[in-house]
């Protein structure tokens, strides 16, 4: 090795070790984010009055909501939640009463994979389900579940109540189009299930990690608002499960979900309990009179 090469190499080595490396460590250290401490989280518990108790304050201490406080107030106070999340919900608290699990014995649930989870992990063992992964409002008439079509299901038996949760698979489509086929489903149910109370349910939010270009909570809220407008509070009622599972920013709380889209198995029980608090008596006319 000649002298020149030797000098150049030595210089390069020295600068790598004593200049470049420390500089890079400094820069990498500075540009790295702090690890967030995992927030202490309790499972959502259903308040008898319909409010949720799973809000935590900045110190991670559980804060109990004032009885009956609407979830919309919580998010509004926080100021960071996507706007209008529950704001357009037609008057909620007064019409609902609490029922026990027997209420759901003559219920039919219609929905996508979230409802599949409710069927598999929930407490409504006597209810009927018409649900499958990927179900959408415009596909419902063609889709077969366990060899049966939608029309067969709703003609085979008279239900006391029908729960619908659809739309998440179509969030990327034109919402007017989705609502048209949604409305058609509701009208069809009214005709084929003359005695049934119909619940249209808001689509469950996704967690912040699970948001994609197409599936955002803003888009879900927009669609949910449209679904809410289908409710007349006489026969058709709108339910928004997000008040149970949302975190303080209006995302699906990561503590209750692994994939950011579906609740983990054990939390479907909470969902069921929540639905128990959101029932209307079978005889519809009396509830409307109370309004």
């Amino acid at each position: 090795m000649n002298k020149f090469k030797q000098c150049a190499y030595t210089l390069l080595l020295l600068s790598t070790c004593f200049v470049a490396s420390p500089l890079m460590i400094h820069k990498i250290w500075k540009s790295s984010a702090f690890v967030e401490k995992p927030a202490a989280s309790a499972p959502p518990t259903v308040n008898k009055n319909g409010g949720t108790e799973n809000t935590t304050d900045e110190n991670g201490q559980p804060v109990t909501q004032p009885e009956g406080a609407a979830p919309a107030d919580t998010t509004a106070a926080n100021g960071q939640a996507p706007a209008a999340e529950t704001a357009t919900t037609p008057a909620q608290p007064d019409i609902f009463v609490e029922s026990d699990l027997a209420y759901f014995d003559d219920a039919l649930f219609i929905g996508d994979s979230r409802t599949v989870g409710l069927k598999e992990y929930g407490d409504f063992k006597s209810s009927d389900f018409f649900c499958t992964e990927g179900l959408a409002t415009d596909k419902i008439n063609k889709t077969e579940v366990n060899g049966k079509k939608f029309d067969e299901i709703i003609d085979a038996k008279q239900y006391g109540k029908v729960y619908v949760m659809l739309g998440i698979n179509e969030v990327g489509n034109d919402h007017e189009y989705v609502l048209t086929s949604y409305r058609a489903i509701v009208e069809k149910l009214k005709v084929h299930q003359p005695d049934a109370v119909i619940y249209v349910q808001a689509n469950l939010h996704v967690s912040s990690a699970a948001e994609t270009k197409v599936i955002t909570n803003a888009a879900i809220d927009d669609l949910n608002n449209g679904i809410a407008s289908l409710a007349d509070n006489k026969r058709v009622f709108y339910l928004d499960i997000n008040e149970l599972f949302d975190d303080e920013y209006g995302y699906f709380n990561q503590s209750y979900t692994h994939d950011g889209v579906h609740p983990e198995g054990m939390y479907y029980t909470q969902w069921c309990q929540w639905l128990c608090t959101k029932t209307v008596p079978k005889y519809v006319e009396t509830t409307t009179a109370a309004e």
């Binding site: 790598t16 890079m24 460590i25 990498i28 250290w29 690890v35 983990e264």
Partner: protein, 464 residues
């Protein structure tokens, strides 16, 4: 950018191959170097400083290699400096956070923990750099005199981000002179396709079941489903990693290199010791050559053999990840291998069927330690596997295992068959037939179809 992505297969690879094929022989290594840096850059787009670090590491080790060879008297010092530099960076990136976390836990202080993003492939390229300077020091290889050649060796994109770990001496000759011909290209493409199929058609599909365990929540899975789940992970990690290694070997072959084999049907082993000679073989060889043998290997008294194994398995554990579960995993493997060496090994080798049964139990169980990094979750899963442990469970779906076995039994069957050496034996016989070409073409397009449909993307549209 991973190999099993449309961008790689339809953009990067064809573009690179055209340029590589067209440039004259003496620029081929430069093409590999440049192409690999582009490949690497696409993986660290948000952190360009990592490209700089990577290039600097190459330059540094190249110079160290030259110095070791030119100044033999001070060779030891240069070697020491080189090892400290390489391992230093690895430790900084991989273990700083872990270290501070544990200081906080044990010394009860509240230092802030930073989430340092690991540069892609650092665990692999660090080991290659270290193997190079040690080989030069031991005179097993001559120092590379051309920086471009050295850069091509370290950065070579087929093995850059996930191995196999190629020792310098194995490719030193090929860096200077290698043959390119159509037969090699054809061979390489076939091997690549097999790897792609392993990854996309087997690992990604069966991996869906393992992911489902998390989605449902470990508390809500039945015991049979827990076993199916961990079995699914067992197959997923094998076909994922083995597939990736095959793709690397195939790509290397297209470029004229013989990249060493990394897997030799490990699930056919009858002991854990044998398993680790057949699983991630290049890593095992690295630890053997640069840690185990320098410590005295097996030619020392028994207590020292145990110590040597202990060190190797502790390091193997932490190499896989900076977390206590990996240390526990390494220690369990150490325990099993010692048990085999001194007690049950001969028995297992003699009665192979017992050995297979033993492995059928310990492989999934040790992978569980590997797969679940959180100890609380780990203990929940473990208690699901062994239902006699009394634990509170939550809303378990009735016959959930029937549902998921109904969906996944085909993949289990395929994975089981491809874990044996039978398909490979058949492949060697029919390799040059038209039938095989058609078969591989189907595998290729089926894989592309799955990638296109995002079948391996858990957050895909229309999956709710």
């Amino acid at each position: 950018m991973v190999f099993s992505s449309l961008e790689f297969i339809f953009l990067f690879l064809p573009a690179f191959m055209i340029v590589y094929g067209l440039v004259p022989k003496k620029y081929k290594n430069a093409t590999i170097f440049a192409g690999s840096i582009i490949f690497y850059s696409m993986g660290v787009l948000k952190r360009p400083i990592y490209i700089l670090l990577f290039l600097l590491t190459i330059l540094f080790n190249f110079i160290i290699g030259e110095f070791i060879e030119s100044y033999r008297k001070a060779g030891r010092l240069w070697l020491l400096l080189g090892i400290l530099f390489n391992i230093g960076w690895l430790v900084f990136f991989k273990y700083t956070g872990f270290f501070i976390e544990n200081v906080n836990v044990f010394v009860r202080d509240d230092f802030l923990v930073k989430d340092i993003i690991l540069p892609i492939g650092i665990s692999f390229y660090t080991f290659q750099n270290v193997s190079y300077i040690i080989d030069v020091y031991r005179r097993k290889a001559k120092a590379e005199t051309n920086l471009i050649n050295y850069g091509a060796y370290i950065s070579m994109f087929p093995q850059l981000i996930a191995g196999p770990i190629v020792k310098y001496e194995t490719v030193a000759a090929q860096l200077k002179e290698r043959s390119h011909n159509i037969k090699r290209v054809e061979d390489g493409l076939k091997t690549f396709t097999i790897g792609l199929g392993y990854k996309v058609l087997l690992a990604n599909q069966i991996g869906g079941l393992w992911k489902k365990m998390g989605d449902i929540g470990f508390r809500s899975i039945s015991s049979p489903l827990a076993w199916l789940g961990i079995l699914a992970f067992t197959f997923q990690i094998y076909f994922d990693f083995c597939g990736y290694s095959y793709m690397a070997i195939g790509l290397g072959r297209i470029m004229g290199f013989d990249i060493p084999k990394n897997f030799d049907h490990p699930y056919m082993s009858t002991t854990m010791g044998e398993f680790w000679r057949r699983w991630h073989m290049t890593l095992g060889n690295w630890f053997k050559e640069y840690v185990y043998i320098p410590l005295g290997g097996s030619r020392v008294k028994t207590s020292l053999i145990v110590r040597n194994y202990f060190i190797v398995w502790l390091l193997t554990g932490v190499w896989h990840g900076a977390s206590w579960n990996f240390i526990l995993w390494g220690m369990v493997l150490f325990g099993l291998i010692m048990l085999e060496r001194f007690v049950i090994g001969d028995f297992l080798k003699k009665y192979r069927i017992v050995g297979h049964l033993y492995m059928f139990l310990v492989i999934p169980l040790t992978w569980l330690l590997f797969a679940v990094t959180d100890f609380r979750q780990l203990s929940i899963y473990f208690s699901r596997l062994i239902p006699i442990i009394p634990v509170k469970t939550y809303s378990i779906m009735d016959k959930d295992y029937v549902k998921y076995f109904g969906i996944y039994w085909k993949y289990f069957l395929a994975c089981l068959v491809f874990s044996t050496n039978i398909p490979e034996k058949i492949y060697k016989k029919i390799k040059d037939s038209y039938f095989c070409a058609v078969l591989l073409l189907i595998v290729f397009w089926a894989s592309v179809y799955c990638m296109y449909m995002g079948k391996d993307d858990p957050f895909l549209y229309y999956r709710f």
